[in-house]
Every structure is written in structure tokens, then in C-alpha cells.
Subunit: 443 residues, 2 copies
């Protein structure tokens, strides 16, 4: 779903059809604009302010200028940056991710505010496929944009910002505004966290259908932040590319299994308000319409996994590898029947299987947005450094992600084959309105 215009945290009716008109602040919402752009071509967006700048200086002339209009015409490749919620949470997942955690240098809240304002303008431009800033035409200055995405499509790029628990220490005078839900994660069973993939004052999730466009985004944000923030860690990730896949097929993880099948319906506002979006009533009013993001770098011991039997693998997940169906079922989307027993009376879905533990009693849900990663190899062991960049969003990590992960960390059969070596927790701001800036409800 796109980002509608509405008051942060406002309760949505549960009807699925056309409940929006009554909620919209304006006769034509950005959701409608997106719909029109997606269905009717790019006329509307091409006419928008800012796009002219692409051609103004001739900087992106040549093959690029030929490519720009074609790229813009590709329906649905722009995900609107502005809206009631940040993009990159409930919007569909493009094929690549580049996640970056930054630490703030110094103690000036003014400096942080200025940075977020500059990042807002840059993110709005980049997600439209436009360069950062407006070139001066003076070639004795560094270019305002680094240029490597010139001529490339907007690629459904989203840029999603959050702040970690450490952001609310003494430095910026914001300790009193720290949301109760933004805790430091407890130590989970199976954690082997490494500082190079853990924590961060600020988290930025860039998702894109083009890795070069994602890189361009993080690189330019980092460049804009020079002197104000330093990179703490980054991680690339990928999904299988979507072109040849039937719509809606769940990607397989690098263990060969379909995982994360049970995601809540992002089109159902009542579900989203219950599971994902922080509400005014939750406290920390500036977070209403935002969400809490858990990031876990989960290395898979693929070499060990690959030597285990298919039966072991299926018992571990509690699913059939081929179909993705829960054990005892036929189809990926069959109900997980936790009561089913085999002939000897043992549960068909083992008590410590991943699907059973992750499901729990069904009361705690999260919205997953995970990507596989392949990051060279571990030079100590000669094994591939590959696995899952697990990301989830939830309304209150204390009630959703944390108890779920505690259960998994204690007894998940999968723990024999995985290790959590990175971890971070961020409060993702509510969406930004035109004229506003990222974090303006906080600052």
C-alpha cells in the first residue's frame, strides 16, 4: 500500500474497499497521484517540480538524458517519499537493500536537525530518480551529486530513517523523549554479536531494485553527513529478482526454505495499526505513525546445513522444503496445524521447530522485510559469510519481536545452523509531510 495522507496514528476503519475518501485531508491524495502515475503513465510526475532540474545543467545529457524519460515512464517505479508513514515499511520490497547505521559526531541538536533537513531533501530527490542538489555549472566545484545513478530508473527506491536507543543519551537533551519501547535488546540465546554489525545512533534502510541506485543513496547521505555523522556499519542484501517469479511467491532463504510466509496484510489498516504502527496512546506521541525496527544479521552455517538430511531440515523448519507447506500440509499457505499428530502420537510439527516457535500462541505478530546476504567469506574458517539480514517492524518490540526472539533463541532447532552476529533497534519516525523533514515530530 502507498502512504496515504492522514493524521498520524488515526484509527482506520476495517473495511477494505474504498474507505479512504473520508480520511483524506485533501481532495486528491498522494495515494491517488501514485495510482494515476502507475496506471496512466508518468505525465503527472514528469510535470512535478524538480524534475526539470535533471536536464537543466546538461550534467546528465547524452545516453542518460535519453534514458530518463523511459525510466520515468516505467509504471510504478517511484515510491512516494512523503506520506503519513515512511516508505520502505508497508510498501512492497524491491530486490536489494543497503542498510547503514551511523553514529552522530558531537553533541549539537541543531547540527542533527540540519542534517535531517538536508537528508530529507536528498532522499525525496533520490527516490524520484533525481540527482541530489542542483549543479552549479561551475566545474571548479565538486559535483553536488556523485553521478553513478545518472540515467538509471528510480527503481522503487525507498529510504527509511530511524534512531537507536543510544540517540537518547545525554548528548542531545532528548533523554526525556525516549520511547519506552525503544529498549536495548536483551541478550538472546545464540547471540554472538560483533561490534562491526551492531548498534548505531541512526539507522537508514535503503531498498531498491537496483543495487547501484541503493549504493548511490547511502553514499550521498554519508557524504551530506560528513562532519556530523560517521558510518558505523553497513550491510548489503538481495532477494531473488522478481521478473520471472509468479506474483506473490515467497522467496526462499539461503537454506532453501520458504520463510516468513506469515506476514500480516499490509493493506489492512486495522491490522497495521495493531501490529506495526505506533499509536498516540502508546506514549512518545512523536512516534505515532512510526514503528520499531529490529535488524539482525544472521549468519547461516550453510556448510553444516548442507550436510544434514532433508528430514532433519524439514523437522527444523517445521515445513516441507519443496512446497513450503507446514509439515502435514500440502500448500505453502495451508494453516499451520500445531495440534496435528503422527501415527505414534508425536506432534507432526516438532515442538522446537522454527515455524512453531516463531508463531507462538499467535498473539505476537511482526512485519518481516528480510533479505539474504552474501558477503564474501570468513577468512578464519574458509566458510561462506552468508545468511539473512533479518529486518522486522512492530508496534512495540517489547511485546512482539523480543518475546518471539527469546523463545527462538532458547530452543529453536535452527540455532544449530545459524548465529546472530549483528543486532540493532531503531525507532522509525512517522512519515514526512511535504514541507516537513524527517524527525520533525521529535526535534
Amino acid at each position: 500500500m502507498a502512504n496515504e495522507e492522514r493524521k498520524d496514528g488515526e484509527r482506520q476503519p476495517e473495511a477494505q474497499d474504498q474507505p479512504l475518501s473520508g480520511l483524506l485531508n485533501k481532495p486528491v491524495s498522494r495515494r491517488d497521484v501514485l495510482k494515476m502515475a502507475g496506471i496512466g503513465g508518468a505525465g503527472l510526475l514528469l510535470g512535478a517540480a524538480g524534475v526539470g532540474a535533471i536536464f537543466k545543467e546538461g550534467l546528465f545529457a547524452g545516453a542518460s538524458s535519453a534514458a530518463k524519460p523511459a525510466a520515468k515512464e516505467a509504471a510504478g517505479d517511484i515510491v512516494e517519499f512523503y506520506g503519513a508513514h515512511q516508505a520502505g515499511i508497508a510498501t512492497p520490497s524491491p530486490n536489494f537493500i543497503l542498510f547503514a547505521a551511523f553514529d552522530v559526531v558531537g553533541t549539537s541538536l541543531d547540527s542533527v536537525r540540519a542534517l535531517f533537513k538536508a537528508w530529507t531533501a536528498a532522499a525525496a530527490s533520490m527516490t524520484r530518480g533525481e540527482p541530489v542538489g542542483e549543479e552549479s555549472g561551475n566545474d571548479h566545484l565538486p559535483p553536488t551529486d556523485t553521478g553513478e545513478s545518472a540515467g538509471l530508473s528510480p527503481s522503487r527506491t525507498t529510504i527509511t530513517f530511524g534512531v537507536g536507543p543510544s540517540f537518547f543519551d545525554h548528548r542531545f537533551g532528548l533523554a526525556g523523549k525516549k520511547p519506552a519501547a525503544l529498549v536495548d535488546f536483551p541478550a538472546f540465546g545464540g547471540d554472538e554479536l560483533r561490534p562491526e554489525w551492531t548498534g548505531g545512533d541512526i539507522g537508514v534502510q535503503v531498498c531498491s531494485d537496483d543495487m547501484q541506485v541503493a549504493f548511490h543513496a547511502i553514499r550521498n547521505l554519508s557524504r551530506i553527513g560528513r562532519g556530523k555523522v560517521v558510518l558505523r556499519w553497513t550491510q548489503e542484501g538481495f532477494q531473488r529478482t522478481g521478473a520471472a517469479d509468479p506474483k506473490g511467491a515467497t522467496p526462499r532463504n539461503l537454506l532453501g526454505f520458504k520463510d516468513g510466509t506469515a506476514n500480516p496484510d499490509t493493506d489492512d489498516d486495522s491490522v497495521m495499526n495493531r501490529v506495526v504502527w505506533a499509536q498516540s496512546a502508546d506514549g512518545a506521541g512523536w512516534m505515532a505513525g512510526g514503528t520499531y525496527m529490529a535488524v539482525r544479521r544472521i549468519r547461516m552455517r550453510v556448510e553444516v546445513w548442507d550436510r544434514s538430511t532433508l528430514a532433519d531440515q524439514e523437522q527444523t523448519f517445521g515445513r516441507h522444503r519443496a512446497s513450503g507447506a507446514p509439515l502435514g500440509g500440502k500448500d505453502e499457505f495451508d494453516e499451520v496445524n500445531l495440534e496435528a499428530k503422527d501415527a505414534s502420537g508425536k506432534p507432526l510439527i516438532p515442538m522446537n521447530s522454527h515455524v512453531r516457535l516463531a508463531r507462538g500462541d499467535g498473539s505476537a505478530q511482526i512485519l518481516r522485510r528480510s533479505y539474504s546476504y552474501s558477503s564474501g567469506m570468513d577468512n578464519k574458517t574458509g566458510q561462506l559469510d552468508a545468511g539473512l539480514l533479518f529486518i522486522c517492524f512492530n508496534r512495540d518490540s517489547r511485546k512482539q519481536f523480543i518475546p518471539m526472539q527469546q523463545k527462538l533463541g532458547q530452543s529453536d532447532l535452527l540455532n544449530e545452523y545459524i548465529v546472530h552476529n549483528g543486532s540493532a533497534h531503531f525507532a522509525c519516525f512517522p512519515g514526512v509531510r511535504q514541507g516537513g523533514y524527517i524527525g520533525d515530530t521529535l526535534f
Copy 2:
């Protein structure tokens, strides 16, 4: 161009139209098969032996079984593994690469030969989008295929094999067969080589339009090689995805410039025989139809680059950033005029610019197949670890790549902004015929 059936190293006439019929060993070549498959749909390939195995065990049922035929029907997404030359050299570049270097364990040539035979069968299957091996149906055995590419398209995957200078030491009794061209690279100016990205007995280049499919290939080759080889280093890379790009547009590197514009015409057999394919007359007869591959991991100091002026950047490359045209030209494909002078009599294209040095006197050409990479960050400096996985193929590195890189290493203006931190050299075998195996001309 596809891999035609022809004698290794055989001279091709220069006519471009339909010169093939007289050269084919068989009435219907694999090239024709590919053409038919690409143009007329997937009937022929779907009927081929081996494809039935996908469905036989029900292993890839469910959403995957629905996806398989659709994937196969996508025209041109299979690059034939067998042929006079290895695929992945003259064939078009898919969007992703996973390069892996292996070292051989032990000293048994029989073991190496057996490995290459097993790798041949696996590579032929995987490039067709099929799983490795045939599942036993016994779920108390490990699966023969790791499963994560099930349901994904063949994705134009190519797997290209070569052996490095170290492969010809005392271990396997092959020292006498070492090609004179397969030298250890000399130290180049600007090298800061790191052992974790340098050398290797065996090099395997996997290119694919789907990173998950590329990962699947290296992971399964590594798994098949367990006990015989160990991973030495790997590197992922990407191009911008092609969908939205005008045909033929040269991708930009991460410095924002169009680079590698001057590649030889892979459709011109006389050029390819002169520039890329080793010939019988070159000595080391087993390499006729093969080629030499230089791999260089070139980190770009993007943070420094981004603070230099556009004028500096353009003088460094000798090209305009916007158009990709050589300085003084208008269009990317304009002739590079090394004689042109500005009003003050200075060369328009600086003497130490990248384009001038890389071009040299025009006698030494190489076939480039480079990818950008983004591999997290350098934890010591907080800077992005990103750059170029430079790969080129040439008939004799002593006469082509090495002198070119010596000149660049000495005086390229670009050296201020890059560092070569990985390097390897491989003799890539000639293509494999049906019934043969990788390296059979050597072993």
C-alpha cells in the same frame, strides 16, 4: 554471440552475415538450438533430457513448479554451457557476479580430474536452471541440491573456470604444461595487495541476472569440492540492472563515469582470435580456444573523489562525466583524439589521464567484464569499501593486460583515488564439448 561448435582456435572468416553453416560440425548447432529457443519459445529446451528431473521427485513443486515453465519461456535466459569457448567471456554480461578462488587440497591429479568432471555436470545443470544431481527421494540423505534457486529462472547464468600459476607447481605433475603467458603478475605501481583477495589455484567466475542463483552456483560447487578444494577468496559484484536502460548504454562506475567503453567487438571472430582467444600457435596447445583472465579488486576512495572538483574528475578520466565523451568530444563513442590541443597548446586529453594511458598506442586491447562492488565498510577508517571488480580477458597477458596496467600503475591520474587490493591471474580453459569435461584438454 553464442558458443558455436567449431574446432578450437580455427580461424573464422570475417564476414558477419551467415558464415557459420560451413563451419559447423553438425547440421544443427547449439547456436541454432539457442536461437530457436529464444525466438520460438521453450519447447525444444523443455523437451531436452534432464529437464524432466526437475519435476520427478516433487522437490520443486508448489509455487516453484508453477514458476519453472514461465522462467524457461523467458527468451534468452539460458546461456549454453557447452561450446568451443567457455560461456561468460564473449557472452553478454548479466547483472551480477560472484567470483570465487579455490585452493586445491592435497596433490592428487586424479582427485582434481574427478572434481572437474563433477563440476562440469553441476555447471551444465545449474546454467540451465536445473538442480544439481538427481534427488534420491530418500529424505534421510542430505539433498543433492541446496534448493535456494528452486523456482528461479536460469537468469543467463554462466560459470567460467580457470587455473592460476600456482596450479602448475610441483603438486600435480603439470609444471611442463604451464602456459608461458600464465605468469605471476609483476608488482604494479599503486598495488596494495591483500592476501584475502589475491591468488588462487582455481578461479570460478559466476555471472547471473539473479544474485541468489549466482550464490547457489558457488555454494554448490564449493560443496561438491569439499575435501578436494577450499575457498580462498570470493567477491560479489553488480552492474546496474538493465531493464530500464537504453540498449547499449555503458554502465557508469561508482565514480560516476562511463568506463570501459572501448571493448572489442565480440561478434567479430577475427578480432576475438587476435585479442581474446589463445591460438594453437601460441604454445600450450591445450589452451587453444581458451583465454587469460586478469582479476583485480580495485577499491575506490569514493570519499576523496567526492570532494574533488568536476574539472579534476574529468581531467582524471579524460572524459566528460555527463556524456561519457572523450574530452573535446560530444558523444560517448566519439573517437578519442589524442592529438587535440586546447587554445594554449596543451593536450585536451591530459597525458596522464586514464583514457589516454589505458588506450596507449592502440595496439594492446583487452576484453573487459568488470562489475562494481559494495562490500560494507572499512572498519579502520569508517569509509565505504566499494569499487570495481575489474576482470579482463586477453590472448596473452604479457603483451596486453600487463603492459597496460604497468603504464596505468606508473602514472594514471586515477591512482590518487583508487587502490588495487586484490589480484589474480587465471588460464581459462577452452570450451567443453558434450561428453567432455572442464579442463579435459589439459588433464
